[in-house]
Each structure stands twice: as C-alpha cells, then as structure tokens.
C-alpha cells in the first residue's frame, strides 16, 4: 500500500516535467538565437560535426518570406519557456496552451526533418539540435499530461 501523497508533493510531481521543459527550451532558444544572429549578419555558418549547414541554411526553406525561420523558432522557444514556467507554478491555463504549442512545434520539426532528408539531401547540426530539443519537449509535456491525469483520478 502506498503512502498518501500530500498536495504539495503532488504539485511537485506535476511541476518537474514543466521545469525540465523550461530549462530545455532555453537550450532551443540559444540555438535559434545563434542561427538568427548568423542569418541577420550574413555570416557564413559552418557545421563543425557534420557537413550540410550551408546547403540547409542557404536553401529557400530557411526563410518564410522575408523572415528567417530561426526568428520564428526563437519566438516559439521563448513562448514555451514562459508557458512552462507558468505551468510549473500552478497556472492551469498555461498547460493546454503549452501542449498545443509543443504539438505544433513537433509537427513542424517532422516537416523540417523530412525536408532535410528528402528534399535538400543535407543535414544541419543546429537544426538537428533544435529537432532533438523539440522531440524531448514533446516527451516531457506528454509525461506532464499523464501525471496531471493520474493526480486528477
């Protein structure tokens, strides 16, 4: 028989995936900001681990109209950070918003991975890092969702 869980313990159990998501989104934010700065200043960005950054970041997919995709990524990661912090501190409305945003980012990540693999035929390490962050964020938010449901049950 398990010991009864106090409300504060239960809150802490729910909060940790959100706190982890907030920390992780900062990593995504730093990555996206790096790409943004490189794009806006016209710097020649080179991959250090794999080759393909020039092909991917110089392709037509690196921009949405005049806006670098990295700027949208930075905005998305900052919003994830804000919502995750709010969710961790018990703002209930932030949870569904966060789940929706992360789901959209996850789908966008799948699309960008498809483009790199099958259209551009090159991979960029900074884009792969961002993909890894978004996939992990999706897992964390799914865990948070499940814990939340268990607590309600």
């Amino acid at each position: 028989m398990s010991a009864p869980v106090s409300p504060s313990e239960s809150q802490a159990k729910i909060a940790w995936p959100y706190l982890a998501a907030a920390l992780l989104s900062l990593m995504g934010l730093a990555d996206a900001l790096y790409l943004t700065v490189q794009d806006l200043t016209g710097q020649n960005l080179r991959c250090t681990i794999i080759s393909g950054c020039a092909e991917v970041l110089g392709s037509a997919y690196a921009h949405l109209g005049p806006v670098p995709l990295a700027v949208l990524g930075a905005a998305a990661y900052f919003t994830v950070f804000s919502l995750a912090i709010l969710a961790a501190f018990g703002y209930r409305l932030a949870r569904p918003l966060l789940a929706t945003l992360v789901a959209v980012m996850f789908l966008m990540t799948l699309w960008l991975l498809y483009l790199q693999a099958f259209v551009i035929h090159h991979f960029c390490q900074y884009c792969l890092l961002s993909a890894a962050v978004t996939i992990t964020l999706t897992v964390l938010i799914a865990i948070a969702f499940l814990r939340n449901r268990q607590t309600l049950d």
Binding site: L26, L29, L33, T36, V37, Q38, D39, L40, T41, G42, Q43, N44, L45, R46, S51, C53, A54, E55, L57, G58, S59, A60, A62, H63, P66, P68, F78, F81, S82, I85, L86, A88, F89, Y91, V119, I120
Partner: protein, 225 residues
C-alpha cells in the same frame, strides 16, 4: 506574492535574451563589416555574397548587371542567349556578375549544378561551365545521376576531374553558394532570373530583354553625369 515569481522569472529571461541578442548582433555585424571592407568587390553594397564574385566584362564599366540565377530554371536558360547578346551590345560599358540562386525545389538538380559551376570556378573556369550548363540544360535537367555528366563537362573545358570531384562537395563551394543565397535573401529575391542594374532590381517590363536594355542605357546615362 508567490504568484508573481513566474512572471518575474519570465521578464528576467526576456530582458537577458533581448540584451544578449543585441550585443551578439552588434559584435557580429562589426565582424561582418570588417570582413566586407577587407575584401569587398561590390561597390556600394553591404549585402553579403560570395567573394570574389564571378565577373565577366570590363572591371571598370559604368554599369554592373548582377544576375541571380538557377542553372535548371527554364526562364534562366531561355534568357541566357539574350543576355549574351546584351553583353556584346554594351561591350566595355557593362560588367556582368553572376550569383547562385538555386531554387530547390522545384528544381531538384539546381544545387548540384550550382556546385558544379562553383567547383569549375575554383579552377578559373566558372564562365565556361556556366555556358555549358545553360547550353545543355535540356539534357542534364532530365538526368538522374548528374555527377558523371558534370565530370564530362569538366573534362571538356580542361578541368582536372579529380580536383573537380573533390571540390564539388567541398566546403569552399558550399560556402560560396551559401553566401550568394544570403545575398539573394538580403535583396528579397525569390525568383530567377532576377537582375540588378547598378544595384536596382529590374522589375515588370524592365525584366524583359528590351526593358533591361533600356535600364542599362539609363544607368549608363546616369553614370555619365
């Protein structure tokens, strides 16, 4: 009071993010400007671009026609003979700069074609490969494995095929295509061919060959003032 803690954290991170980005942008711009001043071949423009660019014609011509093109784009192929005529007509009064703008997709072979031209450029035969690619566009565009075709072209124009193969997927070539792509983004160029006459984009009727001739003449008159 506890409810305010997350808001304070968000504001602090926002300020730190904006501040860091601002400092980062400033230092990167400074570095980019120093690099551009050190080896600029594009008068009057701070936009990025592969250095040195591919230039044909009189280096001190009063008019510079900068073309952003894609070797697989049918419009670029159709414009190619007309552009040659324009070059001949204006002679020493015109210099032409070529910039890579491979549109992948819809042109699945555009990138490798751009790389082939740039790899030829590393052996000082860019324009020869440029001409060959346009003249044979209908042939290679429908192929599946283009590397042997491009190696064949490389041999035809007297390139070292081993070096060509090495450069084709090399960092230098990739960086040049990337830099030209950056320049195209800076100018907001999304279609090919796009022409800049002394930095001014030829749009609408000016894009057509007669309009382009008129624009070059106007630029010539403007330069003569």
């Amino acid at each position: 009071m506890k409810r305010l803690v997350p808001l304070v954290i968000i504001v602090v991170v926002l300020i730190a993010t904006v501040g860091t980005t601002w400092i980062w942008l400033r230092s990167s711009r400074q570095t980019a400007n120093e690099n551009a001043n050190a080896n600029s071949a594009n008068p009057g423009s701070n936009a990025p671009g592969a250095e040195p660019p591919h230039v044909r014609g009189n280096a001190s011509a009063p008019v510079t026609l900068e073309e952003f093109a894609d070797f697989q784009c049918p419009s670029c192929g159709a414009y190619y003979p007309e552009l040659k005529k324009i070059e001949n007509e204006f002679g020493d009064n015109l210099r032409v700069i070529f910039r890579e703008r491979p549109l992948v997709p819809p042109h699945e072979h555009a990138l490798i074609a751009a790389q082939a031209a740039e790899a030829a450029g590393l052996q000082n035969r860019f324009w020869e490969m440029h001409d060959l690619l346009y003249e044979n566009q209908a042939t290679w565009s429908v192929g599946s494995d283009l590397v042997p075709i491009f190696v064949d072209y490389a041999k035809k124009i007297g390139l070292n095929p081993d070096q060509f193969m090495k450069d084709l997927n090399g960092e230098t070539v990739a960086a040049r295509v990337f830099q030209d792509g950056k320049r195209a983004h800076a100018y907001g160029i999304v279609s090919t061919p796009t022409f800049l006459v002394n930095g001014k984009e030829a749009k609408g009727d000016s894009w057509k060959s007669e309009g382009l001739r008129e624009m070059i003449k106007q630029a010539q008159r403007g330069a003569g003032k």
